[in-house]
C-alpha cells in the first residue's frame, strides 16, 4: 500500500505493521487506512484488536512497519496526545483519587491551567452523565461507572481521534444506548472513533466501517456491506414468506447460484442460500410475476457482521493478508 502525504495527514494509516511479542505474533503485516467516523475492530480475544490500539497510541512499538495518526507518529507523545484520547481496557486508577481529581490531574499534565482543567473536567463528566458521583472515590465505583470515568478522561481534552477498547463493557443497556449515542454524535462531528468490540450487533448498529481481525491478521475491512461484497463465494441466507414455497423452491433450484432452498417448518416460508444475491433478487421478481406467487416478506437472515465474521474465520474464505 502506498499512501500519499496528504492521506497521512488526514487519516490513520498502518503501513505493513507487524508486532511480535518475542516469538508470539501480535499482528502481522497490517495495512489499513482509517477515515473519520466510527471504525470498529472486530475479532475474538487474542485476534489483535488491543495490540492494534496500543500500537496506534504508542503504548507498544511496532516490530516493523509504520503508523501515522493524522500525520503524527505514535512515538511522539507530546504531539499525538494533543489530538488523541485512548480509553483503554486497563481497569485501574491512581489510588484514592476521585473521578474529578483523576480527570483534572491528567489535564494538568497536558499543560492546562487549573481553571481550564476544571472546566474541561466538568464538561467531560457531564458528557458521560457522571457529575453526581464526580467527587466520590473511584475505588467505590461500579464497573460501569469506572468505564465512564475512563471514557470521560479520554474525551476531556476534546481529541480528534478517540480510541476505545471495549468501551461498552460493564455498562447496563440504558448506559450502552447513551454511550452509543455519544459516539454517534462525536463521529457526526467529524471525529475518528476506533472502537474494539466482540459484541457484533452493537458494532453493526454503530459502525461506519469495520476491520475484521483473526489471529493477528486483518481478514477483511470496509463498510459492513462492503465487506460482504468482497466475499463473492459466501452464500447469503434469505427468508421468503410466501403462499407457495414449494413451487418457488423448485424454480429457484433450476439456477446454479442457489446453493440451498429449504421449506420452513410452518410451510409458509422458504430459506434460500444463494451465492449471487443480486441475481437472486432479479430472479425472484421474475418468478413472482410468472408464477403469481403471493410474497409476504423477503428478508436476509444473516446479513450482519456475525455471519460475515463466522464465514471469514471458519472457512477458506478468510484469505489472511
Amino acid at each position: 500500500m502506498t499512501t500519499s502525504t496528504s492521506q497521512f495527514a488526514t487519516s490513520i494509516v498502518f503501513e505493513d505493521v507487524s508486532k511480535f511479542y518475542d516469538e508470539v505474533l501480535g499482528v502481522n503485516r497490517v495495512n489499513l487506512q482509517i477515515a473519520p467516523g466510527i471504525t470498529s475492530l472486530v475479532g475474538p480475544n487474542g485476534s489483535g484488536k488491543t495490540t492494534l490500539m496500543n500500537l496506534m497510541t504508542g503504548l507498544l512499538r511496532p516490530s516493523s512497519g509504520r503508523i501515522s495518526v493524522l500525520g503524527i507518529s505514535p512515538s511522539e507523545p507530546e504531539e499525538i496526545f494533543q489530538k488523541l484520547g485512548y480509553c483503554s481496557q486497563f481497569d485501574s486508577f491512581p489510588r484514592g483519587a476521585t473521578a474529578r481529581e483523576f480527570i483534572e490531574f491528567y489535564l494538568r499534565v497536558h499543560g492546562y491551567t487549573k481553571k481550564e482543567a476544571g472546566d474541561l473536567t466538568q464538561a467531560a463528566l457531564e458528557r458521560v452523565s457522571l457529575t453526581e458521583a464526580a467527587d466520590r472515590r473511584i475505588s467505590a465505583f461500579s464497573k460501569g461507572m469506572r468505564q465512564r470515568v475512563r471514557l470521560a478522561q479520554s474525551i476531556a481534552h476534546n481529541p480528534s481521534v478517540l480510541v476505545l477498547d471495549e468501551p461498552l463493557n460493564g455498562l447496563d443497556p440504558m448506559a450502552r444506548a447513551e454511550i452509543i449515542r455519544l459516539f454517534r454524535a462525536l463521529a457526526d462531528a467529524g471525529m475518528f472513533l476506533i472502537i474494539s468490540s466482540h459484541i457484533l450487533h452493537e458494532v453493526d448498529m454503530m459502525s461506519d466501517s469495520v476491520v475484521l481481525l483473526h489471529n493477528g491478521y486483518v481478514v477483511a475491512e470496509g463498510e459492513v456491506h462492503g465487506v460482504r461484497d468482497e466475499i463473492d463465494e459466501h452464500p447469503i441466507q434469505i427468508l421468503i414468506r410466501c403462499d407457495r414455497p414449494q413451487t418457488l423452491a423448485a424454480r429457484l433450484f433450476e439456477h446454479e447460484h442457489t446453493v440451498e432452498a429449504r421449506i420452513n417448518d410452518d410451510r409458509k416460508g422458504l430459506f434460500v442460500k444463494t451465492r449471487r444475491p443480486d441475481d437472486f433478487y432479479l430472479l425472484l421478481n421474475r418468478l413472482v410475476t410468472e408464477q403469481k406467487i403471493q410474497i409476504e416478506s423477503v428478508a436476509p437472515v444473516d446479513d450482519d457482521l456475525n455471519a460475515v465474521y463466522q464465514y471469514l474465520i471458519t472457512s477458506d474464505g478468510g484469505n489472511a493478508q
Binding site: F81, P94, F105, Y112, V128
Partner: protein, 285 residues
C-alpha cells in the same frame, strides 16, 4: 448525556514553560503519593529509627569527662551516621521511594495514563525523580539533623548549645545534611533506573547494597565506581574502616560533588532514553 464539548485550548506556552508546568503537575501528585500513600508507610519507621535510637543512646550515655569534650560524641555520631543512617537507611529509603516511582505504577497498572498524556517522557522522568528526591531529602534531612541534635542535646544540653552556636557543631551538622542530600540525589537516580529496568528490583538492590558495603575492601580504582566512596569523602568526621580496609586518600569535595551530580545526570539521561522506547505491557507484573 450531554454531547456538546467545550473548546478550551491549553494556554499557549513555550516548550520550557510547558515542561515546567507539566513537571509541577506531576510533582503535585507524586509528592502526595510519596508521603501519604500506603507504600509510604514503610518510610516513616525507616526515617524515624535513628531518632529513637539516639534518644535511647542519649539517655544511657554516661556523663564522663571524656564524652564532655565532644570528641568522643562526634565519633559515636559519625559511626551511627556512616554505618546506619547513610549506608543503610538512606540507601533503602531511597531504594524504596525511587524504585516505586515507575515500578509501583506498573504494578498498579496506572502508568499508561502518563504515557497517554502529551508529555515528553523525559519530563515524566524528571518530574517523578524530583518528587522522590523531595520526599527522601525532607525525611532523611529530618533524620540526620534530628538524630544529631537529640544525641548531643539529650546528653549535655547546655554544653551542646555552645558547641552548636560557637563551636564546630553547626558546620558538622550542615556537612552531614549536605552528605545526606547528595546521597538522596545519587541513590534516587540509581534506584529509579533499577526500577525501570528490572521487573523485580529487590535482587539488584541487594547486590548494590553489598557493593556499597564492601567498598572499603575494594582496590582504589573500583572504589570510585560507587556512590558511597564520594559521600564518605565528604563526611566531616572520618571513621576507621578497620584493619582490612584498603586505604585511599578521600576525594576532595570539588571532585566528589560534581562527580556525583554528573553521575546522576548520566543516569537520568539513560533513564530518559530507556523510557522513550518503553512499552506498556502489564502482563506478568
Amino acid at each position: 448525556m450531554v454531547t456538546d464539548a467545550i473548546n478550551v485550548n491549553p494556554t499557549k506556552a513555550t516548550s520550557w514553560s510547558l515542561w515546567t508546568r507539566q513537571t509541577i503537575a506531576i510533582l503535585g501528585l507524586e509528592i502526595k503519593k510519596n508521603f501519604f500513600s500506603r507504600r509510604a508507610l514503610l518510610l516513616y519507621p525507616i526515617a524515624g529509627l535513628p531518632l529513637v535510637m539516639m534518644a535511647a543512646l542519649a539517655i544511657f550515655t554516661p556523663d564522663t569527662d571524656e564524652m564532655r569534650n565532644f570528641g568522643m560524641l562526634s565519633q559515636v555520631y559519625a559511626g551511627v551516621y556512616g554505618g546506619l543512617i547513610l549506608r543503610t537507611l538512606v540507601f533503602f529509603g531511597c531504594a524504596w521511594v525511587a524504585m516505586n516511582l515507575f515500578r509501583g505504577e506498573i504494578v498498579d497498572r496506572s502508568l499508561h495514563y502518563y504515557f497517554l498524556s502529551p508529555v515528553r517522557r523525559e519530563v515524566l522522568v524528571v518530574g517523578k525523580y524530583l518528587s522522590g528526591l523531595i520526599a527522601t531529602i525532607v525525611l532523611f534531612s529530618i533524620t540526620t539533623a534530628g538524630s544529631m541534635l537529640i544525641f548531643y542535646f539529650g546528653i549535655f544540653p547546655s554544653e551542646s548549645k555552645a558547641y552548636f552556636f560557637n563551636g564546630a557543631g553547626t558546620s558538622q551538622l550542615l556537612a552531614y545534611l549536605g552528605v545526606t542530600i547528595l546521597a538522596c540525589i545519587g541513590y534516587s537516580a540509581v534506584f529509579l533506573i533499577v526500577g525501570l529496568f528490572f521487573r523485580n528490583p529487590i535482587i539488584p538492590g541487594l547486590l548494590l547494597y553489598g557493593w556499597e558495603w564492601i567498598n572499603f575492601l575494594l582496590p582504589p580504582g573500583l572504589k570510585k565506581l560507587s556512590v558511597i566512596h564520594y559521600l564518605q569523602s565528604l563526611v566531616p568526621v572520618s571513621m576507621s574502616d578497620g584493619p582490612l580496609a584498603v586505604l585511599v586518600e578521600p576525594t576532595p569535595a570539588w571532585i566528589s560533588v560534581p562527580s556525583l551530580l554528573l553521575f546522576t545526570g548520566v543516569v537520568l539521561f539513560l533513564a530518559g532514553l530507556h523510557i522513550r522506547r518503553m512499552e506498556i505491557s502489564y502482563a506478568g507484573e
